[in-house]
Symmetry: C2
Subunit: 245 residues, 2 copies
């Protein structure tokens, strides 16, 4: 097992550029549905200011996202940059799982468990403040039940998990949640989704929301754990032999 602490310390250092970070940020937000189709982004000059980057760099990112079908730009007065009507769901739908998929899914699991824990705590600490957020979660569950195709289902699924992070009130967790969800979508898109599985999954969603609502941390954690374990096992079944690094 190569998880020794010193090995980890000496593992490669990555330094993403501003351009890459921006594409990642906006791209995941769009793919995960946090920025919904047709939505208008702030004007470039404003957005650059909000993101604390120069307009030049922002435009590089916007151009890249436009070329990859995430965004559509319209010139002239009343124009702007809009999220495409049918943005790509996953960044790279080429065959084969990335070889570190085990790590990714495990990190995501750890993250979700922790988030669910904090969300349940927040709901227990201030039920009134959490109520609207929880109602929003319920709406997503309804949307999932009504979903006629997998894309719609998955979008609501993502919204639910991101909404859970919102309950914690921690901005950083919300950001990470969208990233994890977008990453998870890319993996999940490659496995079959029989309706029976989706129905079962949604039953777990209901249980999760109920647990959060009554502030039952243990139940929330348990439910999330089982919920994600299913995904992990299905992926493991699809993995070519063992794909560990």
């Amino acid at each position: 097992m190569a998880a020794d602490a010193t090995d980890a310390v000496f593992s490669p250092v990555v330094a993403p550029t501003t351009f890459e970070e921006t594409v990642e940020r906006l791209g995941t937000a769009i793919r995960s549905g946090v920025l919904s189709p047709g939505r208008r982004l702030p004007a470039e000059r404003d957005l650059a200011e909000q993101l604390r980057i120069s307009r030049s760099t922002l435009r590089q990112a916007l151009t890249a996202l436009a070329e990859s079908g995430h965004l559509v730009a319209q010139r002239g007065r009343g124009g702007g940059t809009f999220v495409a009507e049918r943005p790509p769901l996953a960044a790279d739908p080429e065959g084969g799982l990335p070889d570190d998929w085990r790590e990714r899914i495990a990190v995501r699991r750890a993250f979700e468990v922790g988030t669910a824990c904090l969300a349940a705590e927040a709901a227990a600490a201030d039920p009134d403040a959490a109520a609207p957020g929880i109602a929003a979660l319920r709406e997503q569950i309804v949307a999932m039940e009504a979903a006629a195709e997998f894309d719609a289902y998955r979008r609501a699924d993502v919204a639910l998990h991101v909404g859970l992070a919102e309950l914690t009130g921690i901005r950083r967790l919300v950001l990470q949640a969208t990233e994890h969800q977008a990453a998870a979508t890319e993996l999940i898109a490659r496995i079959p989704h029989p309706w029976a599985v989706l129905a079962h999954s949604n039953a777990e969603h209901r249980r999760l929301v109920a647990a959060v609502e009554r502030g039952d941390v243990a139940a929330a954690v348990r439910t999330v754990r089982r919920h994600l374990a299913g995904t992990q096992h299905v992926l493991a079944g699809l993995a070519p032999g063992r794909a560990g690094t």
Copy 2:
């Protein structure tokens, strides 16, 4: 509550440089004790290769760490770069908590809960493989009981939590664990630590390790949760009014 998902998406983009990332990586490893005092780092040329960065950039980082008292360099054959005998525990012990301390401590809690969950699962899945790791955790607990001063206690504490992450076998979690621990140390260093509290804390450690050993996920999560809630409350008591952003 400023944790709305779209707000998070449009929050500032940060792009750390390779230099900064490297200082962060090595600095946290040293401060958290993962790289222990007196330890020799790989030769610059080798280390640069391992970290996948140029030697020039690596040297910038090493120089900065040497100036801040983390490292000591010795020239000549048989020389090398060594971790200082008494490296600084915290990066910036200036007065006052950083204003986003609530976020930090919350993110850390979420992380630890998730990690404990995965660690307990790993132990349950393959008890024999996890046994040596768990024995190492017990050693840290013994070290904490024997600790005569807070520094020694804290180092063992960090080692315990990092060791927990190692049990999961996920390199990324180990890396994040050292970062969270180093960050936590900076906060914890500012609060008083009566021996009674430390003893109580260690009792929780024992319970945590026991829960992990028998693969009891629920108990592990519950224990970690309580364990960290204590820290959070003490910090909240020290916070100047409300330090929210």
